[in-house]
Subunit: 499 residues, 2 copies
């Protein structure tokens, strides 16, 4: 191996170890940590974050990357080594533009932001959260100002989650999607709605848990390299290619959260477990972007998990586990889990309405960054957009502008990745079905190996080697394109609702 | 605050954060980590260990401590600040005597040592473990050579676990204890043994767990600052004064492991939860020594947990939880949990025989370090000493010389702290009963607040401020003295066995 590549891998290995140590501490914080541990955990995480940042912005690393440029340009540009230099150089350049003082300020205000968000929710009073959010928006504006080369202030934020993606691209994509989704929802609303009351009844928690585990085992989740625990806000986290864990929540009176939550997190985890082991401890084992990650979770949650072939296989088993479903037909079940109902809460939204929740958030974020909207006016702005897009009005800010934790932790520019992930999932799905023509038949038989192998080969193994648009184009022949998603939604709901 | 003290606290805070982050990773490794995570975890722990060691031996820290010497000598020598300087200086001096090369060698050989110990146990073949153990002994001899000022090579090792304790002191203590314990065991062996077969029957695991939790809640374990999980080899670990966790194992066919294991670990955890918050993030929140820690675990496990007053309170409740005990009288139960039976395995040994297991190990360790014993001859040496002290002969090396993990991980000099802990627990117990004359009556009523408050005031809050001998003398008026333990054992077993 080129000696400088070896040196680079040693530095990246330490950064990766520090980040993964932080991840273990974060996992524990959200699963098992007693309340008393919070303050000390904050100190521990702050130190590990600082050490990782120092290494990731060190002049030594910069010099090494500079020295590696000619070598990286002399080899196959898609090779692991060339990509390692490229991706690391990009991240290094971005990280070194941000003064340490800003990072400390941001860490402090987002810690405070999360506290005041929780207090504001408990009190049902947005004004408690407002001052922290104002400061967070200011700091996000300041962050954007460190990157004058980006065409829009939102670009630099988005780029942290979606390397290479431009705000103008996302806007264009969303503008193509929105009218079609609004139209579809209107058409659905004109039809009698389906019944899903059978999903809202007592379901034994342990049996729910075991059923979810049984399904994802069949999907291909590797329990020797992962595990599942409970968490209030489910997430997936990796400490290594060989230790990728999921968390799930279980509602004793509603089947969906455990079921689709488990499939969703499993999709993320299969991505994590599928990275090329050669990428371990380089930072490139983490996945191409949040949107590509979300494409994997959504694919298993929705394209597989809410499909008819899936339940042709699993529904008899589910009925056996929960005899209270024995009089609910497969078709009624399928329709029930796909019920469309414009609602207030993003995380509970169905496939047809979900993206509208995202667009609303992205529009608000852009307006905030541009200074077109004021933090103090957000509740009103939120409610008016909810009315416009979804026809519903939040009765309070807890179910409105304060429903998501993201802004309180400074994650502005993050939401759009959820909708992009939906679009990518459908785009991939069309390609997969071309490559595996009998996929539906395989799923009907409970066979997921070929699907997983396809994802491993085309998406998972690459880790973060390619930028999201690059990867999607490489695999499907075009960049992110909403057409497949619209086709998917229209076909599915036309059948269910007889449009 | 003296500015240099502030600087010192900042450095120690970072070291503490790194060590506590390692502790979280270690806890996860032993409770929840999937098998696949082991390799990456090794890398993460090695890095955190390296960073902590670098900080703990940095010239900057040395200079700071040197500069603080006059200040520390000018204030109350028992104050937190004076002790912080003293304890940290001592640890710094010791750590800087050890070359980094030695630390790396030692880390490598002990990783290998644990692997080969496990393989040797699986194969029932000591010779698989022998080469690694030979190298470990060599490295422990080399370690001792870095400290020519200690009077015995064993001293420098022991001192890592028992600051300030000399091998000659421990030998003298053990020489006083051994004949008395051997005599006691012989006297017991001459009497008909008690029956404890009722402890060996099926006990529902969940009910066992809940009963243990109920008891330690009453002992005073603070669940807001801790939690309990299952582990193959139970341990207690702290990530902060406010996050001290215990682990326990449950045997579905034997009540003792869960019950006394839980009380034991709770004893450690009460110590951890009881440190003065002012010592948080200084390294002094960890406890005075292993022996003092063990005095706390043994006190709750044995002096409280195997006492008659304890079960006068809890036995009716235990009988209610496990109706299969309804025909076992309180007296029979009390005798059963205190049954003496010389046996092969240290961790299963009763109070009367336990210390002999330790003395045997310490004698072997000293002989190894002195070069008087060879690693290849250990199985034979072990078995002959077992015969001599306990009258039993291991049928194989798994139940003999290979039963403990300690030597494979380089922990030579550690075992004696277990026996010292027993002695200290009884010594403290006599003092506590002088200070709280109606303690037995309080325990009979399930009241443990005064006991815990006494321990908090006299032991827990001090953390590692005082050396173990210093602390024991401060509290009881004399250094570690085996007389109290002999009195305790003799009285207890005379009653049980009618000696």
């Amino acid at each position: 191996m080129e000696p400088k590549i070896q040196q680079l891998k040693e530095i990246l290995g330490e950064i990766s170890d520090l980040n993964h140590a932080s991840a273990v501490l974060g996992w524990d914080q959200q699963t098992y940590m007693p309340a008393g541990g919070a303050e000390a955990r904050g100190n521990q995480l702050a130190l590990l974050g600082k050490l990782s940042h120092e290494r990731g912005t060190s002049p030594e690393l910069g010099k090494l990357l500079e020295g590696l440029k000619p070598y990286a340009e002399s080899i196959d540009p898609d090779s692991d080594e060339a990509r390692l230099v490229k991706v690391t150089t990009r991240a290094f350049k971005k990280a070194t533009c941000v003064p340490t003082r800003h990072i400390i300020d941001f860490a402090q205000i987002t810690t405070l932001g999360q506290q005041s968000w929780m207090e504001a929710r408990q009190a049902g009073n947005y004004s408690i959260f407002q001052p922290a959010l104002e400061r967070i928006v200011e700091l996000r504006q300041e962050y954007a100002s460190f990157f004058p080369d980006f065409e829009h202030p939102y670009d630099s934020l988005l780029d942290d989650f979606e390397p290479g993606m431009k705000t103008s691209e996302v806007k264009k994509i969303f503008e193509a999607v929105r009218p079609k989704q609004v139209e579809l929802i209107k058409a659905i609303a004109a039809k009698p709605n389906v019944d899903n009351s059978f999903l809202h009844q007592p379901f034994d928690e342990k049996k729910q848990w075991d059923f979810g585990a049984e399904v994802i085992t069949q999907f291909g989740y590797d329990w020797k390299r992962g595990r599942q625990d409970k968490a209030a806000h489910p997430f997936t986290i990796g400490f290594s290619v060989n230790d990728v864990r999921i968390t799930t929540r279980v509602d004793p009176n509603f089947l969906n959260p455990m079921m689709f939550g488990t499939f969703h997190e499993c999709g993320h985890a299969l991505y994590g477990q599928g990275a090329d082991p050669n990428l371990e401890r380089t930072g490139l084992e983490e996945g191409a972007s949040l949107a590509v990650h979300e494409s994997q979770s959504r694919l298993w949650e929705n394209l597989v998990g809410r499909s008819m072939p899936m339940w042709e296989h699993f529904y008899p088993r589910l009925q056996k586990v929960f005899p209270q479903l024995k009089d609910v037909s497969l078709e009624a079940f399928y329709k029930g889990i796909n019920k469309v109902q414009p609602s207030l809460i993003r995380v509970e939204a169905d496939e047809a309405t979900y993206n509208l929740h995202i667009m609303l958030r992205m529009e608000i974020e852009i307006a905030l960054l541009e200074g077109q909207a004021k933090v103090k006016d957000l509740p009103e702005l939120w409610n008016s957009k909810m009315k416009e897009y979804l026809g519903v009005t939040p009765p309070n800010d807890i179910q409105g502008v304060m429903q998501d934790i993201h802004w309180s932790s400074g994650m502005i520019g993050y939401f759009s990745t959820y909708a992009l992930g939906n679009l990518v999932s459908a785009q991939l799905w069309e390609k997969i079905n071309q490559d595996i023509p009998d996929l539906a038949e395989q799923i009907r038989k409970g066979k997921f190996e070929n699907l997983l192998a396809w994802l491993r080969k085309n998406i998972h193994r690459h880790g973060a080697k390619f930028e999201p648009q690059e990867l999607v184009k490489k695999v499907t022949g075009s960049k992110i394109d909403p057409a497949a998603y619209i086709r998917y939604l229209t076909k599915k709901y036309s059948e269910i609702y007889g449009l």
